[in-house]
Chain length 343, copies 2
DNA sequence: AATGAATATGGAAGCGCTTCCAGAAAATGT
DNA sequence: ACATTTTCTGGAAGCGCTTCCATATTCATT
């Protein structure tokens, strides 16, 4: 079972060395950007590499150098645009750096042992953790013990010694709540996301705080639990809207559920935003596709992943710097058609 | 920059050999399931492996054995549940087989050169191609040239010598047509998808055959050509519905166009499904978001990916068998609100 | 001009595995 | 009984790279 062989069947570092007129050691140095290589030799090596269309053998490098050039991306469930964007951003950045993404699922059926095997078999140069895996104590401990450079994306709790990238969920949700209030809404419902996610909790907290700060009461009947899934949004919306008194606005913890709210409102003959304003969070593609389009908060998902990879690269290159301070990414408030003044 | 080191810092095949009282060659044979190893020695090796908690070094294996145990998953855009499901399925199956998924983006900004680098650097044991990458002639040619075992998922066109996994479009469309007929519809319209795609042709053929089998005539004025795009669905619907005699149901080759049919019907004051039943295909997220929600056909995305990996494994294990015959997967009929009995 | 650092280079020893090869042991045929 | 074939086993040579070590060469300091 031979593996792919390109147009240049077997160009090795030795070939490059011969063509460049230097030793393999020197070629290796140039390839790895080490210092102590004279400029002219460096140029010669680069010319030879280009001429031969040389591709270093990843496996030889990994074996000899104890680095894998693979970065692991662990997640619980790859569904949804959130993780897709994450993956996309990570791929982009990795491509620039010559690294590759190995995806690995970590859900209910996954044992710690499987993850440990993943780590010791693949020996990834680094690992990216997405929510909610990024808050799994067992995984974090395993990673720390094995000293695998790790960046957590949108984690809920602190874990000393591990870098993280997150958005300011609290601030964003606070801002959205204020937006609704500024439109004259006093009766506002809220759909909570998967409570396992720290962001879901932060958004809820911000909502409550912003209401309180505006001197508005929160009607607990209008607070429903969702799971970030579209279907759960349906249920939540029905629950909130079934009573004889209804809120004039609903702030959903994410767009998927917000879209479901619009559908339910439509089914009930409630006009949006005439009879009900709906606000979302995340700005997934669906947000601008539904009618009316969703007022929402855009999370720079791709940029976050890119930043996370960048952080990883920095760690790999030695600068251990301040790992404990999370990198906060800015969010963007997107005003669209689903929110309007309270009549 | 040390890479992860587990609890057993450095258990090599030599350690296993010593403990088992055999040579490394024999250990290697057992590990790779080769024949010509006596049963007692095999047992001894297995015991030693378990006792030492030995993990073979992936990179040493890859370097020496010219296999990578990595399988590449190429896609155009990771957004959407379709590819998420795909990935999930592929991961599951790979885990069972001890392989891992390396994801790689192939969009507008990607050059062929980048993909070739991906292939020659990672030397994946196999590659999975998702639509629309699976119909990219250039990629296919590159893969074929490098002899990388490849499985295409839901390809539109044939490409000799390359395995593929697809749904049984004919069967599914036949089933949907029968559904419409069972609701009492006799006058049924059909919107054809992009005729360049094999699936569009199969769906049309199934529609005609099912009608014929039920003894129903197909009115050619009610058959319109679309391109799978939403906008083309609008035009097709208008064309079908403009006459003085109208069908009582329209089967659209995909959900995008079916959604357009609903919009057009709405504009014409035709109620769905009261005055017109509408059926789609694909079960895209929009299908459950539109009102009324679309009766459609869902592809078993995860299962398809699992099957694709299975096919790949079979190819890697030597059985080259019949690569040209696509593996057909069963689909799921989703009854929603857009189809109803013919009044 | 002499001394020690800083800079630059290559030889060669692995990294942990697979596999070729040669040879031993067991099973088969005559 | 011997000659073949088949089954089993281990030694040792790589796979293509990184890196330790020893050796040159240059540069700044006295």
């Amino acid at each position: 079972m031979a593996v792919a062989d390109g147009k240049n069947p077997k160009t090795t570092i030795a070939d490059v060395a011969r063509v460049a007129g230097v030793s393999v050691t020197t070629v290796s140095r140039v390839l790895n950007g080490e210092k102590y290589v004279r400029e002219d030799k460096k140029k010669a090596v680069e010319r030879a590499v280009a001429k031969l269309d040389y591709q270093p053998n990843l496996y030889a490098r990994s074996l000899a150098g104890d680095r894998s050039y693979l970065i692991g991306l662990l997640f619980d469930d790859p569904r949804g645009d959130y993780l897709s964007g994450m993956q996309r951003g990570a791929m982009h950045r990795c491509r620039e750096e010559g690294y590759h993404i190995v995806v690995e699922l970590f859900d209910r059926t996954t044992t710690l042992d499987q993850i440990e095997q993943f780590l010791s078999k693949l020996r990834p140069s680094g690992v990216l953790l997405t929510p909610p895996v990024c808050d799994n104590k067992v995984i974090l401990a395993a990673l720390a013990r094995k000293k695998v450079p790790t960046v957590r994306i949108s984690p809920s709790e602190d874990f000393p010694g591990m870098a993280s990238v997150k958005i300011d969920d609290y601030h964003a949700a606070y801002q959205m709540t204020e937006h609704l209030i500024s439109l004259g809404h006093k009766d506002i419902g809220f759909i909570i996301g998967d409570i396992e996610h720290a962001d879901a909790r932060a958004r809820l907290r911000a909502f409550r705080d912003a209401m309180k700060a505006a001197g508005l009461a929160v009607n607990e009947d209008w607070i429903a639990q969702g799971s970030y899934q579209f279907a759960s949004g349906r249920d939540a919306a029905k629950q909130i809207l079934r009573g004889h008194t209804r809120p004039t606005a609903i702030f959903s913890s994410n767009d998927d559920m917000a879209a479901a709210v619009i559908v339910v409102a439509d089914e009930m003959g409630l006009e949006v935003p005439g009879g009900l304003s709906v606000a979302g969070f995340d700005d997934i593609p669906l947000a601008s596709a539904v009618s009316p389009s969703l007022t929402t908060i855009r999370q720079p998902v791709e940029a976050m992943a890119e930043t996370a990879v960048g952080r990883l690269m920095a760690m790999l290159k030695g600068g251990d710097s301040d790992v404990d301070t999370p990198i906060l990414m800015p969010v963007e408030f997107i005003k669209r058609a689903s929110t309007g003044t309270c009549k």
